[in-house]
Amino acid sequence: MMKKLILILALMAASPVGASCYADYKAKQDNPLRLHYGVVELPDSACSPDAAKGQIAQRIGADGWQLLNILSIFAADGLEERKDSAGQYFLRY
Protein backbone atom coordinates (compact mmCIF):
# COMPACT_ATOMS: atom_id res chain seq x y z
CA MET A 1 0.00 0.00 0.00
CA MET A 2 2.76 2.40 1.05
CA LYS A 3 4.85 1.42 -1.98
CA LYS A 4 1.96 2.05 -4.31
CA LEU A 5 1.43 5.51 -2.85
CA ILE A 6 5.09 6.39 -3.32
CA LEU A 7 4.92 5.17 -6.90
CA ILE A 8 1.88 7.32 -7.61
CA LEU A 9 3.55 10.31 -5.99
CA ALA A 10 6.68 9.72 -8.05
CA LEU A 11 4.64 9.53 -11.22
CA MET A 12 2.85 12.71 -10.35
CA ALA A 13 6.18 14.40 -9.73
CA ALA A 14 7.49 13.23 -13.11
CA SER A 15 4.50 14.62 -14.96
CA PRO A 16 4.00 17.99 -13.35
CA VAL A 17 0.61 19.00 -12.13
CA GLY A 18 -1.36 21.41 -14.27
CA ALA A 19 0.55 20.66 -17.48
CA SER A 20 -2.14 19.88 -19.97
CA CYS A 21 -0.33 20.68 -23.21
CA TYR A 22 3.18 20.93 -24.65
CA ALA A 23 4.70 23.00 -27.42
CA ASP A 24 7.80 22.63 -29.55
CA TYR A 25 9.54 25.79 -30.76
CA LYS A 26 12.64 27.16 -32.43
CA ALA A 27 14.85 29.84 -30.88
CA LYS A 28 18.11 31.63 -31.59
CA GLN A 29 20.88 33.72 -30.05
CA ASP A 30 22.84 36.34 -31.97
CA ASN A 31 26.59 37.01 -32.14
CA PRO A 32 27.53 34.28 -32.76
CA LEU A 33 24.39 32.75 -34.17
CA ARG A 34 23.18 29.80 -32.08
CA LEU A 35 20.01 27.87 -32.73
CA HIS A 36 17.99 25.37 -30.79
CA TYR A 37 14.86 23.28 -31.01
CA GLY A 38 13.09 22.75 -27.71
CA VAL A 39 9.97 21.39 -26.08
CA VAL A 40 8.17 23.15 -23.21
CA GLU A 41 5.18 22.28 -21.13
CA LEU A 42 2.44 24.85 -20.85
CA PRO A 43 -0.31 25.42 -18.28
CA ASP A 44 -3.94 25.14 -19.39
CA SER A 45 -4.28 28.86 -19.81
CA ALA A 46 -1.50 29.04 -22.42
CA CYS A 47 -2.57 26.30 -24.81
CA SER A 48 -3.57 28.65 -27.61
CA PRO A 49 -0.75 29.60 -30.04
CA ASP A 50 -0.87 33.31 -29.13
CA ALA A 51 -0.73 32.78 -25.39
CA ALA A 52 1.96 30.12 -25.78
CA LYS A 53 4.10 32.51 -27.75
CA GLY A 54 4.22 35.07 -24.93
CA GLN A 55 4.86 32.40 -22.30
CA ILE A 56 7.70 30.70 -24.17
CA ALA A 57 9.36 33.96 -25.21
CA GLN A 58 9.37 35.09 -21.61
CA ARG A 59 10.78 31.83 -20.25
CA ILE A 60 13.59 31.34 -22.76
CA GLY A 61 14.30 35.09 -22.79
CA ALA A 62 15.72 34.76 -19.28
CA ASP A 63 18.71 32.93 -20.79
CA GLY A 64 19.07 35.32 -23.70
CA TRP A 65 17.25 33.17 -26.24
CA GLN A 66 14.98 34.75 -28.79
CA LEU A 67 11.87 32.85 -29.91
CA LEU A 68 11.68 32.36 -33.67
CA ASN A 69 8.47 30.35 -34.07
CA ILE A 70 6.25 27.74 -32.48
CA LEU A 71 5.93 24.57 -34.54
CA SER A 72 2.99 22.90 -32.81
CA ILE A 73 1.06 22.50 -29.59
CA PHE A 74 0.44 18.90 -28.65
CA ALA A 75 -0.64 16.63 -25.84
CA ALA A 76 1.54 14.40 -23.64
CA ASP A 77 1.47 11.54 -26.15
CA GLY A 78 3.59 13.53 -28.58
CA LEU A 79 6.46 13.95 -26.12
CA GLU A 80 8.33 10.72 -26.81
CA GLU A 81 8.90 11.29 -30.54
CA ARG A 82 10.35 14.78 -29.89
CA LYS A 83 12.60 13.85 -27.01
CA ASP A 84 15.61 12.93 -29.14
CA SER A 85 15.51 16.02 -31.33
CA ALA A 86 15.12 18.46 -28.46
CA GLY A 87 18.00 16.91 -26.55
CA GLN A 88 19.09 19.17 -23.70
CA TYR A 89 16.24 21.56 -24.41
CA PHE A 90 13.60 18.90 -23.79
CA LEU A 91 11.36 20.39 -21.06
CA ARG A 92 14.25 22.60 -19.89
CA TYR A 93 12.30 25.84 -19.68
Partner: protein, 233 residues
Protein backbone atom coordinates in the same frame (compact mmCIF):
# COMPACT_ATOMS: atom_id res chain seq x y z
CA UNK B 1 27.88 90.57 -82.29
CA UNK B 2 29.53 87.23 -81.70
CA UNK B 3 33.18 87.41 -80.91
CA UNK B 4 35.12 85.15 -83.22
CA UNK B 5 38.58 85.90 -81.94
CA UNK B 6 40.38 84.17 -79.13
CA UNK B 7 43.53 84.99 -77.25
CA UNK B 8 46.09 82.97 -75.34
CA UNK B 9 44.95 84.34 -71.98
CA UNK B 10 41.38 83.44 -72.85
CA UNK B 11 42.28 79.81 -73.51
CA UNK B 12 44.24 79.70 -70.30
CA UNK B 13 41.24 81.03 -68.37
CA UNK B 14 38.76 78.60 -69.93
CA UNK B 15 41.36 75.86 -69.48
CA UNK B 16 41.49 76.36 -65.73
CA UNK B 17 37.70 76.47 -65.66
CA UNK B 18 37.54 73.16 -67.54
CA UNK B 19 40.06 71.65 -65.09
CA UNK B 20 38.02 72.82 -62.08
CA UNK B 21 34.73 71.54 -63.48
CA UNK B 22 36.36 68.30 -64.65
CA UNK B 23 37.98 67.58 -61.30
CA UNK B 24 34.71 68.32 -59.52
CA UNK B 25 32.85 65.97 -61.90
CA UNK B 26 35.43 63.18 -61.47
CA UNK B 27 35.39 63.44 -57.69
CA UNK B 28 31.59 63.52 -57.67
CA UNK B 29 31.21 60.49 -59.97
CA UNK B 30 33.73 58.42 -58.03
CA UNK B 31 32.17 59.48 -54.73
CA UNK B 32 28.76 58.31 -55.93
CA UNK B 33 30.32 55.07 -57.18
CA UNK B 34 32.01 54.56 -53.80
CA UNK B 35 28.80 55.17 -51.87
CA UNK B 36 26.85 52.77 -54.11
CA UNK B 37 29.57 50.14 -53.80
CA UNK B 38 29.71 50.33 -50.04
CA UNK B 39 25.95 50.30 -49.71
CA UNK B 40 25.56 47.26 -51.95
CA UNK B 41 28.21 45.16 -50.23
CA UNK B 42 26.49 42.49 -48.10
CA UNK B 43 26.86 43.21 -44.40
CA UNK B 44 28.19 40.82 -41.79
CA UNK B 45 24.75 39.65 -40.72
CA UNK B 46 23.54 38.61 -44.19
CA UNK B 47 24.73 35.01 -43.69
CA UNK B 48 23.26 34.71 -40.21
CA UNK B 49 19.93 36.06 -41.43
CA UNK B 50 19.86 33.55 -44.28
CA UNK B 51 20.71 30.62 -42.01
CA UNK B 52 18.03 31.74 -39.57
CA UNK B 53 15.53 31.93 -42.41
CA UNK B 54 16.36 28.39 -43.51
CA UNK B 55 15.98 27.20 -39.93
CA UNK B 56 12.56 28.79 -39.52
CA UNK B 57 11.18 27.82 -42.91
CA UNK B 58 11.97 24.11 -42.66
CA UNK B 59 9.86 22.54 -39.94
CA UNK B 60 11.65 19.19 -40.08
CA UNK B 61 15.05 20.77 -39.32
CA UNK B 62 14.81 19.84 -35.65
CA UNK B 63 17.53 17.24 -35.33
CA UNK B 64 20.36 18.27 -33.04
CA UNK B 65 23.04 17.45 -35.62
CA UNK B 66 21.27 19.40 -38.32
CA UNK B 67 21.00 22.45 -36.10
CA UNK B 68 24.69 22.21 -35.23
CA UNK B 69 25.48 22.11 -38.96
CA UNK B 70 23.42 25.24 -39.56
CA UNK B 71 25.33 27.03 -36.78
CA UNK B 72 28.64 26.06 -38.37
CA UNK B 73 27.39 27.38 -41.71
CA UNK B 74 26.52 30.69 -40.10
CA UNK B 75 29.94 30.87 -38.43
CA UNK B 76 31.82 30.30 -41.68
CA UNK B 77 29.66 33.02 -43.23
CA UNK B 78 30.56 35.39 -40.43
CA UNK B 79 34.27 34.74 -40.89
CA UNK B 80 33.85 35.44 -44.61
CA UNK B 81 32.24 38.74 -43.76
CA UNK B 82 35.53 39.71 -42.08
CA UNK B 83 37.14 39.19 -45.47
CA UNK B 84 34.52 41.49 -46.94
CA UNK B 85 35.64 44.23 -44.57
CA UNK B 86 39.15 44.00 -45.94
CA UNK B 87 37.69 44.08 -49.48
CA UNK B 88 36.01 47.32 -48.54
CA UNK B 89 39.38 48.84 -47.64
CA UNK B 90 40.93 47.61 -50.86
CA UNK B 91 38.06 49.00 -52.92
CA UNK B 92 38.35 52.34 -51.16
CA UNK B 93 42.10 52.56 -51.83
CA UNK B 94 41.55 51.66 -55.48
CA UNK B 95 38.89 54.33 -55.81
CA UNK B 96 41.25 56.93 -54.37
CA UNK B 97 43.90 55.84 -56.89
CA UNK B 98 41.38 56.01 -59.70
CA UNK B 99 40.42 59.54 -58.69
CA UNK B 100 44.04 60.65 -58.60
CA UNK B 101 44.76 59.11 -62.01
CA UNK B 102 41.65 60.61 -63.59
CA UNK B 103 42.51 64.07 -62.23
CA UNK B 104 46.08 63.76 -63.48
CA UNK B 105 44.85 62.61 -66.90
CA UNK B 106 42.48 65.57 -67.13
CA UNK B 107 45.19 68.06 -66.16
CA UNK B 108 47.55 66.58 -68.76
CA UNK B 109 44.85 66.66 -71.40
CA UNK B 110 44.12 70.32 -70.79
CA UNK B 111 47.85 71.07 -70.74
CA UNK B 112 48.30 69.32 -74.07
CA UNK B 113 45.44 71.27 -75.62
CA UNK B 114 46.86 74.55 -74.32
CA UNK B 115 50.32 73.64 -75.60
CA UNK B 116 48.90 72.76 -79.00
CA UNK B 117 47.26 76.17 -79.22
CA UNK B 118 50.49 77.83 -78.20
CA UNK B 119 52.41 75.84 -80.78
CA UNK B 120 49.98 76.99 -83.43
CA UNK B 121 50.48 80.59 -82.42
CA UNK B 122 54.25 80.24 -82.44
CA UNK B 123 54.11 78.73 -85.91
CA UNK B 124 52.05 81.65 -87.12
CA UNK B 125 54.35 84.23 -85.57
CA UNK B 126 57.36 82.58 -87.19
CA UNK B 127 60.80 82.48 -85.70
CA UNK B 128 61.10 83.59 -82.12
CA UNK B 129 64.55 84.43 -80.88
CA UNK B 130 64.96 82.92 -77.45
CA UNK B 131 68.74 82.95 -77.34
CA UNK B 132 71.39 85.04 -79.05
CA UNK B 133 75.04 84.18 -78.69
CA UNK B 134 77.78 86.13 -80.39
CA UNK B 135 81.19 84.57 -80.82
CA UNK B 136 83.63 87.29 -81.92
CA UNK B 137 86.63 84.96 -82.46
CA UNK B 138 84.79 82.81 -84.96
CA UNK B 139 82.69 85.64 -86.38
CA UNK B 140 79.67 83.54 -85.70
CA UNK B 141 76.26 84.27 -84.17
CA UNK B 142 74.03 81.57 -82.69
CA UNK B 143 70.28 82.21 -82.86
CA UNK B 144 68.29 79.48 -81.08
CA UNK B 145 71.31 77.22 -81.59
CA UNK B 146 71.32 77.92 -85.33
CA UNK B 147 74.76 78.93 -86.45
CA UNK B 148 75.27 81.87 -88.83
CA UNK B 149 78.63 83.01 -90.16
CA UNK B 150 78.94 86.79 -90.54
CA UNK B 151 81.59 89.22 -91.70
CA UNK B 152 83.67 90.97 -89.10
CA UNK B 153 81.91 94.27 -89.72
CA UNK B 154 78.47 92.68 -89.37
CA UNK B 155 79.51 91.04 -86.09
CA UNK B 156 80.65 94.47 -84.84
CA UNK B 157 77.28 95.99 -85.73
CA UNK B 158 75.40 93.13 -84.08
CA UNK B 159 77.52 93.42 -80.93
CA UNK B 160 76.85 97.15 -80.70
CA UNK B 161 73.12 96.51 -81.09
CA UNK B 162 73.20 93.74 -78.49
CA UNK B 163 75.00 95.94 -75.97
CA UNK B 164 72.46 98.70 -76.55
CA UNK B 165 69.63 96.19 -76.15
CA UNK B 166 70.97 95.14 -72.76
CA UNK B 167 70.83 98.76 -71.61
CA UNK B 168 67.37 99.14 -73.20
CA UNK B 169 68.71 101.87 -75.50
CA UNK B 170 67.89 102.99 -79.02
CA UNK B 171 70.76 103.82 -81.36
CA UNK B 172 70.70 106.15 -84.33
CA UNK B 173 72.74 105.48 -87.47
CA UNK B 174 75.31 108.10 -86.35
CA UNK B 175 75.76 106.50 -82.95
CA UNK B 176 76.27 103.04 -84.44
CA UNK B 177 78.86 104.32 -86.89
CA UNK B 178 80.54 106.31 -84.11
CA UNK B 179 80.78 103.36 -81.73
CA UNK B 180 82.20 101.05 -84.36
CA UNK B 181 84.68 103.49 -85.89
CA UNK B 182 85.60 105.08 -82.55
CA UNK B 183 84.93 108.64 -83.73
CA UNK B 184 82.52 110.97 -81.88
CA UNK B 185 78.92 110.48 -83.06
CA UNK B 186 78.63 114.13 -84.16
CA UNK B 187 81.33 113.62 -86.80
CA UNK B 188 79.67 110.56 -88.35
CA UNK B 189 77.31 110.19 -91.23
CA UNK B 190 73.81 108.83 -90.61
CA UNK B 191 73.96 106.99 -93.94
CA UNK B 192 77.11 105.08 -92.93
CA UNK B 193 75.30 103.57 -89.93
CA UNK B 194 72.28 102.77 -92.06
CA UNK B 195 74.56 100.96 -94.53
CA UNK B 196 76.05 98.86 -91.74
CA UNK B 197 72.53 97.89 -90.61
CA UNK B 198 71.56 97.05 -94.20
CA UNK B 199 74.61 94.82 -94.66
CA UNK B 200 73.88 93.03 -91.36
CA UNK B 201 70.25 92.49 -92.36
CA UNK B 202 71.20 91.25 -95.83
CA UNK B 203 73.76 88.77 -94.64
CA UNK B 204 71.88 87.49 -91.62
CA UNK B 205 68.49 87.50 -93.36
CA UNK B 206 69.88 85.62 -96.34
CA UNK B 207 71.36 82.93 -94.13
CA UNK B 208 68.21 82.64 -92.00
CA UNK B 209 65.95 82.25 -95.00
CA UNK B 210 68.24 79.63 -96.49
CA UNK B 211 68.28 77.81 -93.15
CA UNK B 212 64.55 78.06 -92.50
CA UNK B 213 62.80 78.34 -95.85
CA UNK B 214 64.83 77.97 -99.03
CA UNK B 215 67.13 75.07 -98.34
CA UNK B 216 70.09 74.16 -100.44
CA UNK B 217 70.90 70.49 -100.54
CA UNK B 218 74.50 70.11 -101.64
CA UNK B 219 74.92 69.06 -105.28
CA UNK B 220 71.23 68.29 -105.66
CA UNK B 221 69.38 71.57 -105.67
CA UNK B 222 67.05 73.81 -103.75
CA UNK B 223 63.91 73.02 -101.83
CA UNK B 224 61.25 75.00 -100.04
CA UNK B 225 61.48 73.87 -96.41
CA UNK B 226 57.78 73.91 -95.52
CA UNK B 227 55.51 71.11 -94.54
CA UNK B 228 53.24 69.52 -97.10
CA UNK B 229 50.09 71.03 -95.56
CA UNK B 230 51.62 74.48 -95.83
CA UNK B 231 52.48 73.83 -99.48
CA UNK B 232 48.87 72.99 -100.23
CA UNK B 233 47.57 76.35 -99.18
Amino acid sequence: MPDNTSSATETRLSGSKVVTIGIAAIVLILLVAAVLLFMNLPDANAFNARVEQIFVENNDLTNHAEIKLLEILAQSGTSFSDTLTSYRTVIFVLLVFATALMVAALVFLVTIIALNKRMGEIERIGIQVSSLLISREENTVYLNNMEFKLTEAAIETLSVLAEARMDEELLSGCEIEGMISGRPASDCDEAAGATRIKRLRDSLGNQMVSELLVKNIARRGYMLATRWSANCW
